[in-house]
């Protein structure tokens, strides 16, 4: 009888694209303990997106909690995440 398998993968590779699909940041060896906020910050920096503080992460159409970790949110390696801004227009 074999012992149950335990996950020893502590890192994931992630792809984060702007919502237009024009540019993609490939982040390798991201610790699973990283928060989504940290991942977004790194990707925004890699892509050189202006107004980087406005961007949120969307995975499979669902916005991710920036305080949640990659591990907690079940983000697997090679997942594709979108970077989408939260911003307001208007004449005010």
């Amino acid at each position: 009888m074999s012992a149950p398998m335990q996950s020893t993968v502590e890192f994931v590779d992630l792809r984060l694209s702007d919502w237009e699909g024009a540019r993609t940041a490939h982040l390798d060896q991201v610790p699973r303990s990283s928060t989504i906020g940290q991942v977004v910050s790194e990707a925004v920096q890699q892509l050189g997106l202006p107004l980087g503080g406005l961007f949120k992460a969307v995975f499979r159409g669902v916005e991710l909690d920036p305080a949640g970790t990659v591990d907690e949110l079940g983000i697997a390696s090679d997942s594709e995440i979108e970077l989408v801004p939260e911003v307001s227009a208007g004449c005010g």
């Binding site: 237009e20 993609t24 050189g48 107004l51 939260e86 911003v87 227009a89 208007g90 004449c91």
Partner: protein, 335 residues
């Protein structure tokens, strides 16, 4: 990838020169502009590759490291020059953040500057790389577009649909995702953006009012999915929103107040969500010399890494009498 690499930052300083706050500054709008122009002109292949680049700051006289302008050289492309104003939207965002954090006070006089410093070549680099998609244009002969030009054309029915929506907008702003196709004539180095439809954008968490329209990720993602579901190859190419007239404008046909302009908030939306160089923004509302019941439009888009007003053409029949001079349909009663 980057020779002679510099990092750029924006500094906000008080009237006495004290530093109130700083933030990293992005030069991506300049890089995207140079790449787009280089590919349009045929200096570079449209293969998504970014060649080696070199950024050279021009210093304010005797004020190094304060940047007055910068030059960007992409290998194989003539050098392009950008003035400090390309950073204005990022400087405004920093000022707003400092206000929220109460590091500066409302009404306080502050100044901003861009500073550049050489990157530390020995600094640890994260394990990351960036890829990009080719520009999404289709080859086509464009004899109607001047050589080297980039023109925008609306189908009249799209503008009529937006016109009717703006007229009926009541006391809340509305917004749409513009859909279309980009055509490129490599022999003439010409581009034409054709806008063929507009899909409603849902307001985000911040809601909407008479003076604002908030987008959240769901606003953009759901509209893009609706566009993809059409299956006809059109893509998001920009956005439209309207500015509502005040009550006085509605009641007074003689009112000359103009509500069609590109606000600082609008600039944040375009910079963050529509940053590709071919993306455009249409604003609808009361044009100064026309009554509120006859809304008009102005178009804005990227040029030299800044958002500026740009002309557009309207084609097609059956949608009404379009006046390019007024930017409005002139075929109905004012009332």
């Amino acid at each position: 990838m980057t020779e002679g690499a510099c990092t750029f930052a924006i500094e906000v300083r008080r009237a006495d020169g004290a530093l109130a706050g700083t933030a990293d500054a992005s030069v991506s709008m300049c890089v995207e502009d140079a790449l787009f122009r280089g590919v349009q002109a045929g200096h570079l292949a449209n293969d998504g590759q970014l060649p080696a680049l070199r950024l050279t700051p021009t210093w304010h006289e005797a004020q190094r490291p304060s940047v007055a302008a910068l030059s960007l050289r992409l290998e194989g492309v003539p050098t392009r020059h950008y003035d400090r104003e390309v950073f204005a939207v990022q400087a405004r965002a920093l000022v707003q953040r400092l206000l929220r954090e109460k590091k500066i006070s409302d009404g306080e006089k502050v100044q901003w500057q861009v500073v550049a410093r050489e990157e530390d070549a020995d600094a640890a680099r994260p394990r990351a790389r960036t890829t990009r998609a080719p520009f999404p244009w289709e080859p086509e002969a464009l004899p109607q577009v001047p050589r080297g030009g980039f023109e925008v054309r609306f189908e009249a029915g799209v503008l009529r649909k937006l016109h009717d929506r703006v007229r009926a907008s009541g006391e809340t702003e509305g917004a749409e995702l513009l859909l279309g196709r980009l055509a490129h004539d490599s022999a003439r180095q010409a581009l034409e953006l054709r806008i063929v439809d507009a899909l409603p954008l849902a307001a985000g968490r911040g809601g909407r009012s008479n003076v604002h329209f908030a987008f959240d990720p769901g606003s953009f993602v759901s509209a893009r999915r609706a566009a993809e579901a059409r299956g006809d190859g059109v893509r998001p190419v920009g956005w439209h929103h309207n500015h509502n007239p005040c009550a006085g404008c509605r009641d007074n046909p003689e009112c000359k107040v103009n509500w069609v302009f590109f606000s600082e908030l609008d600039l944040e939306v375009h910079t963050s969500a529509f940053g590709s160089p071919a993306m455009v923004a249409l604003v609808g509302g009361k044009v100064g010399h026309l009554p509120a019941q006859r809304p008009g439009f102005r178009l804005y888009g990227w040029r030299d890494a800044r958002v500026v007003e740009r002309p557009f053409r309207v084609e097609g029949s059956g949608a009404g009498v379009w006046s390019a001079r007024d930017g409005a349909f002139l075929d109905e009663e004012d009332g």
